[in-house]
């Protein structure tokens, strides 16, 4: 059994190298498909990242009445932190708020001056709530409306950019959907093309299959080298495609960084290297195996 596997792997390996341009053709077709699928995957990852960055900038601020004790605010914070939709709650005391305010208006002496004239801190303490997802702010709003500390709330600030962010969110979701759809479509197309390419490869081998049958090779023994050959196509294509992707991202780095300053596509690729590579090898090997399996079938008279 081990002997058979060893021999058939070697057979597949030899076929791959001795087939010359047919191997090149099969690998190029597979390479192209894998490259497109991976590129789409990276685009989807990038849009996800953009969305994530934008979401980090959305928040809800809950301002408490000046008369509210710190204890109440901290209890409210604790309450809110228990909701699964809420990612973080940050407590900003009115002293901190004043500090921030002064820092922000450092270049405007009029404001600083009028603050000094008031004498006391006119700002309110508040909680900054961040939800896990931009869509969940509606739910958070409902929580606040029904909260036990509702009477202590002075006002709720739902972030100025919420509407724009909502629209962006929709666009990103759309890009994502289209990206995944295209990746799916390309998988199907490449499956068909690769299937055909491998079939042509095996068609040129049909005489050999006949000879193998004649000298008493079992069907499994005939089939395995072709399947290994298919797997080699997949693996070689994935490796080349990974290299190509790296080169493409590296050369376009300046451009993409200017276009999307918040996301570095190259580092995104590098941090997902194992995932993308693994995905490619799996897809490649799967495509190679399935197409070889069906293509040899015909000549085995099964």
């Amino acid at each position: 059994m081990l002997l058979t596997i060893g021999r058939t792997i070697k057979g597949g390996w030899n076929n791959f190298f001795r087939n010359g341009y047919l191997s090149v053709a099969a690998v190029s077709v597979m390479l192209l498909s894998l490259f497109i699928i991976s590129a789409l995957f990276i685009i989807v990852l990038t849009t996800d990242k953009i969305l994530e960055n934008i979401q980090d900038k959305v928040n809800v601020s809950v301002f408490f009445k000046a008369s509210t004790s710190e204890e109440t605010i901290l209890r409210a914070k604790e309450d809110l932190e228990n909701y699964s939709e809420i990612k973080t709650v940050e407590y900003i005391t009115k002293e901190k708020a004043l500090e921030n305010f002064k820092k922000n208006s450092a270049g405007e002496p009029v404001i600083i001056q009028s603050l000094e004239e008031i004498g006391e801190n006119p700002l309110l303490s508040y909680l900054v709530i961040q939800a896990n997802d931009a869509n969940e702010y509606d739910v958070v709003g409902k929580y606040l409306e029904n909260a036990s500390f509702k009477s202590d709330i002075s006002r709720i600030n739902y972030g100025k950019n919420k509407e724009i962010i909502d629209r962006l969110n929709n666009i990103v979701a759309e890009v994502r959907r289209i990206g995944l759809g295209l990746a799916g479509l390309f998988s199907v197309i490449s499956l068909l093309i690769i299937f055909n390419t491998v079939r042509i490869t095996i068609y040129t081998h049909r005489k050999e299959v006949e000879v193998m049958r004649l000298v008493g090779a079992s069907n499994t023994y005939i089939r395995l080298p072709f399947i290994f050959e298919g797997i080699i196509y997949g693996v070689v294509s994935s490796i080349i495609s990974m290299l190509l992707l790296f080169v493409a991202l590296k050369t376009s780095q300046g451009f993409t960084n200017r276009l999307i300053p918040s996301v570095n596509m190259l580092s995104l690729y590098l941090s997902n290297f194992a995932l993308i590579f693994g995905m490619q090898i799996l897809i490649g090997a799967f495509l190679g195996t399935v197409s070889s399996w069906f293509a040899v079938r015909k000549y085995l008279k099964i």
Binding site: T4, E208, V211, L214
Partner: protein
């Protein structure tokens, strides 16, 4: 050894390839099957190595009916038969050595045994020094000798030679023929299909003449003839 019992083969469009064939070949015999193209020579041979099945009747090999062999066992059955063809049927991407070794590899023979047996058999067919050449680097006669070596490597009970000299010059043909006679002398049954008058007469053994799918002559010490 091999027995055809009222065997007929009819292809789809009512084309009769073989009709009512009764033929018995004993172990150690050398039988030449002659006849024009399309007479049914190849069909008879294909039935022996179970590439074709009869429409009617039965073929026995070593007393076992071939139609009872399961698909999985067919490859094992073929290992007891060596085949040689007009077009050599070598694997083009394998060297002479690898072509012969392949027949052993498929049976799961160990590497050590392969490295012992294959050079020996290539030596016997006179290709000791050309083991690493690919088929396209060899002449027709040499390719056919590689095919002979491959057919002989697992010491088959029967050698089936379907027009083995069809693509060869007279000198090479003679060499192949002498090789076949030598193999037969050592005890292997040889079944030869040919329409080469000189070759068949040279053998001067049993001759079965086929015409339009029927056996019309079967001479123990026959000569090539179209009755």
């Amino acid at each position: 050894m091999i027995k055809f019992d009222k065997v007929s083969k009819i292809y789809r469009d009512d084309y009769i390839a073989l009709q009512d064939i009764n033929l018995e070949i004993k172990a150690g015999e050398f039988v030449s099957i002659v006849g024009q193209s399309g007479a049914g020579k190849s069909t008879i041979l294909k039935m022996i190595y179970a590439e074709e099945t009869p429409t009617d009747g039965q073929v026995f090999f070593d007393k076992k009916p071939l139609d009872s062999i399961s698909r999985k066992r067919i490859s094992e059955h073929r290992r007891s038969i060596g085949t040689v063809f007009q077009d050599f049927k070598l694997l083009p991407k394998k060297t002479a050595f690898e072509n012969v070794a392949y027949a052993l590899e498929v049976c799961g023979i160990s590497k050590a045994k392969i490295f012992e047996d294959v050079p020996q058999i290539l030596e016997i067919v006179g290709l000791g020094d050309r083991q690493d050449e690919f088929p396209h680097e060899l002449s027709g006669g040499e390719q056919q000798r590689v095919a002979m070596a491959r057919a002989l490597i697992h010491k088959p009970l029967v050698i089936i030679a379907d027009e083995p000299t069809g693509n060869l010059d007279p000198v090479s043909s003679l060499e192949i023929m002498q090789l076949l006679l030598k193999i037969n002398k050592l005890g292997t049954t040889v079944i030869l299909a040919s329409h080469d008058r000189d070759i068949v007469n040279k053998a001067a053994r049993r001759v079965v003449v086929l015409e339009k799918g029927r056996i019309i002559c079967d001479d123990e010490k026959g000569k090539y003839k179209i009755c």
